[in-house]
């Protein structure tokens, strides 16, 4: 009988530990510097693959000053939609201490080089054929980024459109805007040129994978949604990467990646909800200045 009592005492002790850990709401130790605790399924890990069949040729790479690069998506043959912060955060912002607000769009980089990449992969032979075009950058007028110690505290209207000098050959754009808002637990496809692991070194390869929405955040100024750690996860280089709703009827551009939190099972990726920016995006599509 005493052994039964001991068992209950032990069970109580275990439960008291679980009580403290169960909610998992307390921040974990700083895992962001330790890749071992991070999900291994970035755009490139489990369930994620290289786009060898060129399913997402509309997803382009954007080359920026200081060896930086982002991802983006062709919304017309001459327009690329991406994240504004790719152009508007000053050189070396990652190492700047303190809180800085960047909202003056006149300070943003004005031009960029856009790469469309065709893979044409066969069994034993493959070709990577990039086409490069220069373009002019337009930033959303409500863009505002708050950067705290080199990391993103808040980003509003983090959208930019690059108008290309000429079209990227025969690549079909993916610029259909959603007619309905995204919803909790909806499954979406992410495509980008970031590496397959946090701070991984295998970037500059187009990969895609799916994930589920864990949070939809819509206020008067914030229009975003988030995804959790279970599926494809964006990493460095996936800023501006598109998020598609794919059904039998077609493909809709529902989100643009603007940041991520790499914290093991608490990892999140954040997206601008394009549903609320349809009017602006449609307006940009019509806008073509002579070269």
């Amino acid at each position: 009988m005493p052994s039964l009592w001991n068992a209950w005492v032990a069970a109580l002790m275990v439960l008291s530990v679980l009580w403290n850990a169960g909610c998992a709401s307390a921040p974990l130790a700083d895992e962001s510097t330790d890749s071992s605790g991070l999900p291994e399924y970035g755009i490139g890990g489990n369930g994620v693959q290289e786009d060898r069949k060129d399913l997402y040729r509309s997803v382009v790479m954007i080359l920026l000053p200081d060896n930086a690069f982002c991802s983006g998506v062709l919304i017309t043959p001459r327009h690329v939609l991406t994240a504004a912060h790719c152009f508007c955060l000053p050189s070396g912002f990652e190492t700047r201490k303190g809180t800085h607000v960047y909202s003056d769009t006149s300070q943003c980089t004005k031009t960029a080089t856009v790469l469309g990449v065709s893979y044409q992969q066969g069994k034993d032979t493959s070709r990577t054929k990039p086409a490069a075009r220069k373009g002019k950058v337009s930033i959303h007028e409500s863009f505002r980024a708050t950067v705290i110690d080199g990391r993103i505290g808040e980003q509003l209207a983090d959208l930019a459109v690059i108008q290309l000098e000429e079209s990227l050959g025969d690549i079909n754009p993916d610029g259909s805007m959603p007619e309905v808002d995204v919803s909790y637990s909806e499954k979406l496809t992410l495509v980008g040129y970031g590496p397959s692991t946090y701070r991984g070194i295998d970037h500059q390869i187009r990969r895609f994978g799916t994930n589920f929405i864990t949070k939809v955040n819509t206020t008067s100024s914030v229009k975003e949604f988030r995804m959790g750690p279970e599926g494809a996860h964006p990493f460095g280089g996936d800023s501006g990467a598109p998020c598609f709703r794919e059904t039998k009827e077609g493909r809709w551009l529902v989100g643009i990646n603007y940041g991520f939190l790499a914290r093991g099972m608490e990892s999140e990726s954040w997206f601008i909800n394009t549903f609320y920016f349809r009017a602006w995006i449609e307006e940009q599509k019509k806008h073509l200045e002579p070269n």
């Binding site: 034993d124 990039p130 914290r263």
Partner: protein, 324 residues
Amino acid sequence: MAASPSRLRPPVARTRFLVWTVTALLWSALTLHFAHCKSQKPEQPSQKDAGAQASTEPHEPLDPGLGRTPPRVAGTMDVDNHYLSTVMVTAEAHAQTARCSGIIIHPRLVLTAASCLCTPPGATLDTACMKRAFVRTVRYGEVADKNFKEETTEKRFDTYEGSVRPHPEFRLLLDSHGSAAYEADLALILLDTAVEEALAPVPWTNSQVQVGEWLVMAGYGQDNAWGGSPGVRYFRRNKITRVPGEPRGQVIYEQQGAFLYDGFAGGPCFREAGGARWLVGIASIGTETALPFTSLLPFQDWLRAEVHALGADPTSPTPALGKE
């Protein structure tokens, strides 16, 4: 003293009572706990009063997600295909980043470093090598933007599969200071089918290298911290600083940069003079202070035997052995 039955009964009853009480307590505690967890979760923002709210609840700052392309200190990209016989060595057929480099010395033989494909053998451990490996030739085409050669050059990859044949004397040596160095860090990959690219055979040198001599190394360099652009072959000139007697054939280059280029390991080291080129050695895995390669001179018998074993194949001429 024997315990009477009447004295046994109450503890049993008490235990039962305790079990039920504890169970009830635990149940209510758990229910409370989950309610507590639920209440901790932020409410659905879609139901929030959007009115004067300027932003959402504070959150932990995010990584901005900008990528960085690697710094260009690995050397010069071989856009003119001068070093086409320098190949990527990978573990997967479609890998776009090289595990190592290698050089085609015969249409069916690729020479690389054993340390790329084998676990370091010690005094007590047998060499354990990958049985099969992939070799990818990379031919460059049009460069779309000269400012971004690495990213905008058209690349054609041809993939071949083959069996790994490490040098039988490949091993890890520890010197008196306890630092490790590989001996006979060479391996061949015997390809299932001959390479289709028509490549001019590169003769092997017959003479020793000298301290102070400049050699050219070629390979698919990628940086430890930054990675590399997929399928980019570099070449760069390196000066020899030491030719130690041990391990056999080891030659040390001057370590030119703070960055280590892993992908160069297994790649060729050439002597170049008057438009001619001789194969001198195979790059080994370096450290921050030393960049070693293995001279082929002490291992020529093994190499010749391996090449001659394929001699019956009419599609595989034996490379000319160069005289200087």
